[in-house]
Symmetry: C2
Subunit: 165 residues, 2 copies
Amino acid sequence: MAPSIHRQAERLHHVFTELVRAYQFRDREGITCYGLSVSQCYTLDTLADKGPTAMGDLARHLHLEISSMTRVVDSLVAKGWAARVTDDKDRRVCRVRISRKGQTLVSGIRSDLIEEHKHILRELPVDSREVVITAMSHLLFAFNERKQRGCGSGKSGKGRKRKVG
Amino acid sequence: MAPSIHRQAERLHHVFTELVRAYQFRDREGITCYGLSVSQCYTLDTLADKGPTAMGDLARHLHLEISSMTRVVDSLVAKGWAARVTDDKDRRVCRVRISRKGQTLVSGIRSDLIEEHKHILRELPVDSREVVITAMSHLLFAFNERKQRGCGSGKSGKGRKRKVG
DNA sequence: CCATATACTTGTACGCTACAACTATTGTGG
DNA sequence: CCACAATAGTTGTAGCGTACAAGTATATGG
């Protein structure tokens, strides 16, 4: 018989929390040793995938404020990993383009990370690898579905509130 | 036939990256609206699980420097969610204990997060829910295995290096 | 041509974390 | 018992990442 959904949710919560925490930690250690931050890395990764992208689109994609996005791009430009290009059609728009140097960097990081995942996969029995990947995809799908419907984080979804004093 | 492990690793990398990013974001929005930060929340959660814990153990468990841990605990104490207790045996040691107020807070957050996971699970077909959870557990296991063997992040595992200028 | 909207940048502030220097306590060899 | 090292934690300081508010430049509509 199927376990109760509540128990399942508890387990999912637990395992997912641990996994994300471990992963975040690995990211910080693993990526920063290339000389860039996690946000910078995601940004470069996005640029490598999508090509020149407007600041605003970039910000939306990375779940950042435009002002924060500006700073991240500043740092990428300062390091020579990206460049700003004013859009011809609409001169308010600032497209960000990855440089060759940035391209090289991000390729290196990517292949290292993929290598890392290969090692992780090898820890799993051959016939469950595909299951894990598929399961993760489903979870991501479910996650996004849930998010798109605008169901915040339950009862307390009243948005930002930093200080409680 | 089985897909190549390289291709699988690429897929795992991709889906996992997205998932973690989405999750992180949800955390930030979801937890901070209770008036605490993600680190504060993890700390309280740990304290709720493990009971009074020495500062150093807490730091190790959360992958933080002791000095950072001190600040987090400072903030928890300031909010009345935890208290410092000097150890009787070794007066250098500072144990941190969650308060009743903190206990209540963390219980509330936990049940909200579990509720959230329940919703996510409901997006999945009934008979794949268990598969997903099990798969995640396996992945976490593999991840930890890999980490415990001290295999850093591949070739560039030379530790910290923040500034490249 | 002016008012408003849009896209982005800059000013400012705050939280999180790390490293280094410091304090307090405990353990150890003589 | 004392000097000295080791351990546990705190404080000083600094940098990154992010957000909000205000400012700048461009576009759009009346």
